[in-house]
Amino acid sequence: MISEAQSGDTALSAARATDEPAFVVDVEGFEGPLDLLLALARQQKVDLAKISILALADQYLAFIEEARRLRLELAADYLLMAAWLAYLKSRLLLPDLTSEEGQNAAALASALAMRLKQLEAIRTVADQLLGGAQLDRDVFRRGQPEPIAHITHPEWTATLYDLLTAYAQQRQRTALSHVHVAQRSVWSLAEARTALERLIGQSADWAQLDKYLLSFVADPSLTRTVFASSFASTLELVREGLMEVHQQAAFAPLYVRKNQQTSYPEGSQQQP
């Protein structure tokens, strides 16, 4: 067989014998020997069912002969078909077509006619199919479709078990991490200072330092270090003039606020 890709290359174009106008050797555009046969068959201008395979074989062989005379290179497909047709022709010319060989030849001939007919039929319907209305060529769908928006509303789910394990695990995690991790048991001066700055940042009111600290510290074991660090930081902040602190009596709660250099609560005692 010849491949489609090659068929274009077997360009036997321009090989028109002007002195033989009825016969033009031009394989270009033929899609293999069957296609060529079909084209030749059409020259007989009869119904394919009534076509003379013998005449067709002669036409084909003459075509191939002409191509060879012109030294045109033919693909093996065409030559194979020529050989087969030559064989078929010799059988069809047997004097006794009722012999077994003769009957075989007749069957082969009609099978070939049938193949040609089928190829023609499929081409006819292909033309009808492609010639009909095609989408985006002849008929059109809506040019501006209005998309159907798909809105999904999440329906959140969680189980009580999820909730309780989440609670227990994180409480356990933080409780244990404070116990086991040495670094966590000390509150650095920097941490204390940041916390204090946050405490006094917005408020002009006195805030009770220890109450604030206690609520801040989730882990009771941290109480001492928190107190120590924050007291040191308090003194530092007061020294820098950023903060004021007062205590009504020894061991009484410490109050802090942003330095405003204004009045102090009743009975307060400013510390340097």
Partner: protein
């Protein structure tokens, strides 16, 4: 200025004409909104229960039959398309659809009318070996698909047409292919012919035939050209 009035002439048993009109409006709106054909089940989900969607669609189809836009059925689904007789007016030079080679056109026709069909069978009918290119081009259009493997030596892949094929050529079903009568009447169903030469009533039923095996996981890689469509088999 002339006024157009919509007048209903009903010979049916009483139905609330207003609610019926509303049903048609809903069907109309949904079908207009979508560029793709919609099936009756999807449409039924949007109209109040107990509505005969099918009857409503037939009614709409009739109403639109004479208009510039028609309601057509594609593979059992419904969609509006411009009337085909207006093609001369609407054809767009700019969006010239892919021009198929003659080889690809013939291959497509053989697949459409003979499906499921293997490449060798296509070659036998065309009398020429079909380059992989034709099949690839057709796969790229989305009009054909590999559907299985023939239970024969070499287990060749069988091809069939898709819904996109029906949609492109405006067919409600594969049985609506043109030229079927001619093909059948031409004696091509002659029993003496090898099976691949017969032209049975085409069917794109996805169910595998007796002589087909399902595709294997890697087959789609082989059959489908563009890399983007390939499924990783790793």
């Amino acid at each position: 200025m002339p006024n157009l009035k919509v007048v209903t002439t009903s010979h049916e048993p009483e139905r609330n004409p207003e609610s019926r009109l509303e049903e048609l409006r809903i069907l109309e709106a949904m079908l207009f909104a979508s560029a793709e054909p919609l099936d009756e089940k999807l449409l039924a989900a949007q109209v109040p229960e107990g509505i005969d969607v099918h009857a409503g669609l037939l009614e709409l189809q009739q109403e639109y039959a004479s208009r510039g836009v028609n309601l057509v059925r594609i593979n059992g689904k419904w969609t509006f398309r411009t009337a085909s007789d207006l093609a001369w007016l609407l054809s767009r030079e700019t969006t010239e659809p892919r021009k198929l080679s003659r080889a690809a056109v013939e291959t497509l026709a053989i697949i459409a009318y003979h499906q499921p069909v293997t490449r060798i069978e296509i070659e036998n009918i065309r009398g020429v070996s079909t380059s992989k290119g034709s099949i690839d081009v057709l796969l790229e259009t989305g009009w054909i698909r590999p559907r299985g493997r023939r239970k024969s030596p070499g287990r060749p892949i069988t091809y069939g047409t898709t819904e996109a094929f029906l949609s492109h050529f405006g067919l409600d079903a594969i049985g609506d292919l043109p030229g079927l009568d001619e093909l059948k009447g031409s004696g091509l169903l002659d029993g003496r012919l090898p099976p691949e030469f017969s032209v049975p009533m085409p069917s794109d039923d996805a169910t595998l035939r007796e002589d087909e095996d399902p595709l294997e996981p890697g087959d789609l890689d082989l059959a489908l050209g563009p890399a983007s469509e390939r499924v990783s088999t790793e």
